[in-house]
Structures are given as structure tokens and as C-alpha cells.
């Protein structure tokens, strides 16, 4: 039986070395294109380790059950986060809450390089298929900020209001997500990559499908009454707050701007 390399060489009708280079390019492309393509590549042809590199480098051990998983093919977790982690196929738990030692070990392992590439691709251009809007419990709050610390704090505070919390790390992703899930409230940083938060507000407010969204803009840069007036007049923001962001400020934004009928303050929420 011919090796996979020989099969490709014959199929593409090029001499050996060119076929070798072609395969390397294919593997690199499929890795970038996503795991579905690579799964087809691997399952259909059988992985050739000398072509795709040492596949054991893609493995990682689950933080909870110690099962071995493949960082190339493991599913994303369903935690609402701008940085989801991977799910163990054995115990179905993700490593979002793995302890520090495990995370440090993982992040310095070869498997983490694959995870980071997938994560970057996911954040930049691949949006997981949004659940049907009707299925998402309201209120839906969208937080847009390139600072992950803000998302951690927002997740904590806004959990008190029930509903669904979604995250984006740049203005364009925030706009796409808002158009998909039609949030009740958008809380966005002003100074964002790709699309300024104030510009995001203007686009949402001038679109028939999203004009009902309330928008709060947070800023550490555009401070003062002049910028505030401009934000309200020109960019149609509903609230304009200056950073640093505190839990009380976030709560006030949500309390003031969410439709009161939708607000469900959880019993025993953080004070």
C-alpha cells in the first residue's frame, strides 16, 4: 500500500520534494482554517507524523480527570467569555476554573500554542453560531472591552441581574454580536480596536434592528463635559461613565438602563 505521501505525490502530479512542500502548506492551511478541515484531512488519509509534526504536542491532560485531550480538536466550552477554554471529552469540564498551577503548566506547553491560535481565530473572525435570540433569557447584556479584567468584573456584577451576558473584545465583534442577539443593554469601552465604542453606539442607534438597545460608554480617555455632551448628542449614547469602572457604577448602569420588567435581581446577590 502506498504511503500517504506517495498518494499525494501521484495525485498532484509533482515530484517528491514539491509534494512534500505542498503537504506542509496544506497542513498549515488546514490548521489555520479550523479543525473541521483538519479532521477530514486526518481521518481521510491518516496523519503522517513526519508531515504534520509531532502530534503528541497537541495533547493536554484534563485539569479535573487527567484524561488526555487533543487541543487541536477539543470543543470550546460554553462559558460566556471572551476567552473560552477547551472541554475535556471524558468529563466534559473545561479549564476556565482550573487552578493556577495547572493553567501555568498548560500555557507553557506546546498544546497551548495550538489553543492560542484557535482562540485568536475564534475571537477575530469566527463567531460561534449564536443561539436563537428567542432562546436567550433576557435581559441580554453585551459587554465590549479589550480589557479582559473588565469582563471578569462585569461577569460578577451583572450576574445579579439574571438574563444573558455576552462579551466582545473589539468594536466590530461587538457590532456583529449586537446584530445577532439584539441586546437590551450594551456596555462598551470608548477606546476600542477596530471600531470605536462611540461609533459602535452610533451604528446601533441608527439601525432599525438595533436602535432599541441602550448603550453605555465607558471611557478613561475622553473625560470631561465636552466629550460627554458630544457622546450624547452625536453618538446617541444613553449613559457615559468615566473609568475606572467600579461594581457600583456597573450596577447603576444596569439598573438605570435595563427595562424594569426584565430585571431579575437574584436573591442573595453580591452587595
Amino acid at each position: 500500500m502506498r504511503s500517504f505521501f506517495e498518494q499525494v505525490s501521484r495525485r498532484v502530479r509533482v515530484p517528491g520534494l514539491a509534494a512534500h512542500l505542498y503537504l506542509i502548506a496544506v497542513v498549515k492551511f488546514t490548521r489555520l482554517a479550523g479543525m473541521a478541515s483538519l479532521s477530514q484531512f486526518r481521518s481521510g488519509q491518516g496523519a503522517q507524523q513526519n508531515m504534520a509534526g509531532d502530534l503528541s504536542n497537541f495533547k493536554f491532560v484534563c485539569a479535573w480527570c487527567a484524561s488526555e485531550n487533543d487541543s487541536l480538536t477539543a470543543d470550546w466550552c460554553s462559558c460566556v467569555s471572551s476567552s473560552p477554554s477547551l472541554t475535556c471529552s471524558a468529563c466534559n469540564r473545561c479549564f476556565c476554573k482550573a487552578d493556577r498551577a495547572w493553567r501555568e503548566n498548560f500555557l507553557t506547553s506546546p498544546a497551548a500554542a495550538v489553543y492560542r491560535r484557535r482562540s485568536t481565530k475564534l475571537t477575530q473572525s469566527f463567531a460561534p453560531a449564536a443561539p436563537a435570540v428567542d432562546d436567550l433569557p433576557r435581559p441580554i447584556i453585551l459587554v465590549v472591552d479589550d480589557d479582559k479584567v473588565v469582563h471578569v468584573i462585569a461577569k460578577r456584577v451583572l450576574a445579579e441581574f439574571g438574563g444573558t451576558l455576552v462579551h466582545a473584545s473589539d468594536g466590530e465583534a461587538g457590532l456583529r454580536l449586537a446584530q445577532q442577539v439584539l441586546p437590551d443593554l450594551v456596555i462598551t469601552d470608548a477606546f476600542l480596536p477596530k471600531l470605536d465604542g462611540r461609533e459602535l453606539s452610533q451604528r446601533l442607534k441608527t439601525s432599525p434592528t438595533t436602535k432599541q438597545c441602550k448603550v453605555a460608554v465607558m471611557t478613561a480617555l475622553y473625560k470631561g463635559s465636552r466629550y460627554r455632551s458630544e457622546a450624547i448628542r452625536q453618538f446617541h449614547v444613553d449613559a457615559y461613565v468615566e473609568k475606572p469602572l467600579t461594581a457600583d457604577v456597573l450596577r447603576k448602569i444596569a439598573t438605570d438602563l435595563l427595562p424594569q420588567a426584565e430585571v431579575q435581581v437574584a436573591a442573595g446577590g453580591a452587595s
Partner: protein, 121 residues
């Protein structure tokens, strides 16, 4: 938290928000720590390449993030750089100003995370 690099008031608010949840602090400080490392590396590269706009954008990001966890000493250095008030003119020297205060802040925050979670009182 009793460390000169970390603002006690900001940290107290985070403790109140955490309400005894050690996992929240792990996530918060771990997120800041990991993000700061990445941003610092990007700042180093931007400074070396002479990319002033990129460098200042990264410093702005570091500034905002550090304020959210109370790393005010470091945030003040960032603000000085952003406002053109740094006592140095080259990007590489401005980058050098960032390293030590950020290191101190990160160490202070990491020390707060005790394995047993006892640091939460």
C-alpha cells in the same frame, strides 16, 4: 491588602464584590497577570520598532487594566507616559520605566492569592 503598590480602597471594593469567593480573585488576578505579560511584550516590541502610536495604545490598555485591580502606582507611571510627562524621550526608555512598577504590582497581587484562600479576609 497592605502593599504600597496596590490601592487599598480599590482592592477593598473587589473584596466586597468577591464576597469570600476565592475563585473570583484567582480569575481576576490571573486574568490581569496574563494580560499584563502579553501587553508588556507587545510594548517592548513596539518600543523597539519605534512605533509610537502602538506603544502609547498599549500603555493606555495597561493603564486601564491596572486601575481596575488597584495597581495605582503602576497606573501613575502609565499616565505620565501617556500625557508626555515622562522624564525620558525615547520609547525604549519609557518602556524601561514600566517594567519594575508592573513587576512589583504583579508580585503584590500574586502574593495575595494564598493557596488556602486565607488572603481573602
Amino acid at each position: 491588602m497592605n502593599h504600597a503598590a496596590i490601592d487599598a480602597e480599590v482592592f477593598a471594593e473587589l473584596q466586597e464584590l468577591a464576597d469570600g469567593d476565592a475563585a473570583f480573585f484567582e480569575e481576576l488576578i490571573g486574568t490581569f497577570d496574563a494580560q499584563a505579560e502579553i501587553l508588556l511584550a507587545k510594548a517592548r516590541a513596539a518600543a523597539k520598532a519605534g512605533e509610537t502610536d502602538d506603544f502609547l495604545n498599549i500603555v493606555h490598555a495597561l493603564n486601564g487594566s491596572s486601575r481596575n485591580v488597584g495597581a495605582m502606582e503602576f497606573a501613575r507611571v502609565c499616565t505620565a507616559i501617556e500625557r508626555g510627562q515622562a522624564p525620558v524621550s525615547s520609547l525604549t526608555l519609557m518602556f524601561d520605566m514600566l517594567e519594575e512598577p508592573l513587576r512589583v504590582a504583579r508580585v503584590a497581587l500574586r502574593e495575595y492569592l494564598q493557596p488556602t484562600g486565607k488572603g481573602l479576609d
